[in-house]
Amino acid sequence: MSDLTLKDLYFKFRDPTAMKTLAELIRKEAKGLKEPMRVMEICGGHTHTIMKYGIKQLLPENIEFIHGPGCPVCVMPKERIDHAIELAKQDGVILATLGDMIRVPGSKSSLAKVRAEGADVRPLHSTLDVLKIAKENPDKKVVFFAIGFETTTPMTAALMERAFKEGIKNIYYHINHVLVPPPMRAIMDSGEAKINAFIGPSHVSVIIGAKSYQFLVDSYNTPVVVAGFEPVDVMESILMLVRQKLKGEPKVEIQYKRATTWDGNVLAQKMIDKYMDVRDTFRWRGLGDIPKSALKLRDEYAEFDAEKVFADILPNEPIDDHKLCICGQILRGLANPTDCKVFGTACTPSSPLGSCMVSDEGACNAYYRYAR
């Protein structure tokens, strides 16, 4: 076996012949399926891969995708987006957040708009940049609006660790980290979506480990394959799901073996646990209240918790989606973007009505960009 090169890690997993071969294998083997396979890809990254690489076009009709609530921007309710906007508008506050947040519309504005009005909003590519911003602006309050699933949560914790170690006291954390398993359970419990197979997230799983999906097998008898994020990964995972179906023995399998283990990144898990604990409940956009589905700062860090420090300026009334928007149903696996009446007309990536149209990972956005 020759040595691995960096290019291999990209291009070998986008190999055209492998794609065509896997498509042929899936088409052949899927003929044996007794009922249509309704696969939910949990992660928005996979939604993106499926749309960008036209994977649906390679699959037979009895394999269907249901897009899961796997975009952290899309599942944030408007009142929390409003928090980011309110915080950014405060004098003396620099709001730092991941680039994806900049365009998301809250109830009245967006970070892009308040920035145009003079707010100091910094789109980050690396959480480490927050340290730099805080050091360069000692007289400002830097609010880090932290968002993301378990993939991103450890980086927030690691940032806190480093900030405390360096004695930096002007960073405030607004924690919007959500968890993948609870909404899965909620969707399966409601039973509406009729999902009978799962593609498990790539990078969430690197952190939490494949074991975290065992409950889907145990409680709902549904197969799970933890898949890589390249097109070949997804195709291979589909094939693995088909084969599980044919064999009739659901289990959690890992296709993404080059990066995922059964137990995940234990150090990262500990780091999260040090700084954050689970909220009693959290309101998801489209899905409503889900118990124990999100994280918050531990009480001992209350003085750095932006939700507490800025409590008096943060609105907390729940704000519902635009009446015509069916993001909620899409996020629950009950509808496709194309079912929405305003998809591509009143709602486009440049003037989105709902959150699924905003983020590049959102189902509506991905449909708009790649498959209208």
């Binding site: 691995l4 065509k20 896997l22 790539s202 080059r258 150090l267």
Partner: protein, 104 residues
């Protein structure tokens, strides 16, 4: 937030900051979230400024090898592939029994 990028470690400094390369683009990332030893030449997955995991080269190469065999089989049959022919010493390709073992 699931965009994580395979990258190669070029060097590591005293603050546990690594310089990594992504197809010719170099940047600084923190190794604070990796328990295992990381050395120059290793591959890591990068997310928002941190390495979040090492890439298992053996597993990656195995996958690549399988895809190569797949491609060869496909070329032979002009894509009229017979799944039964796609086997190696471990059993059928793409569906290897060792997955079972991991679970414990």
């Amino acid at each position: 937030m699931c965009l994580a990028i395979p990258s190669k470690v070029l060097s590591i400094d005293e603050n546990n900051i690594a310089e990594v390369d992504t197809l010719g683009v170099k940047r600084q990332v923190s190794l604070d979230l990796i328990q295992e030893e990381v050395k120059p030449g290793d591959y890591v997955l990068i997310h928002v400024g941190y390495a979040m995991g090492k890439i298992d080269e053996k597993e990656a190469l195995e996958s690549i090898e399988v895809y190569k065999m797949l491609a060869e089989a496909a070329m032979e049959d002009d894509f009229a592939i017979d799944p039964e022919k796609l086997v190696n010493e471990d059993g059928p390709l793409l569906y290897k029994p060792e997955e079972e073992e991991n679970k414990q």
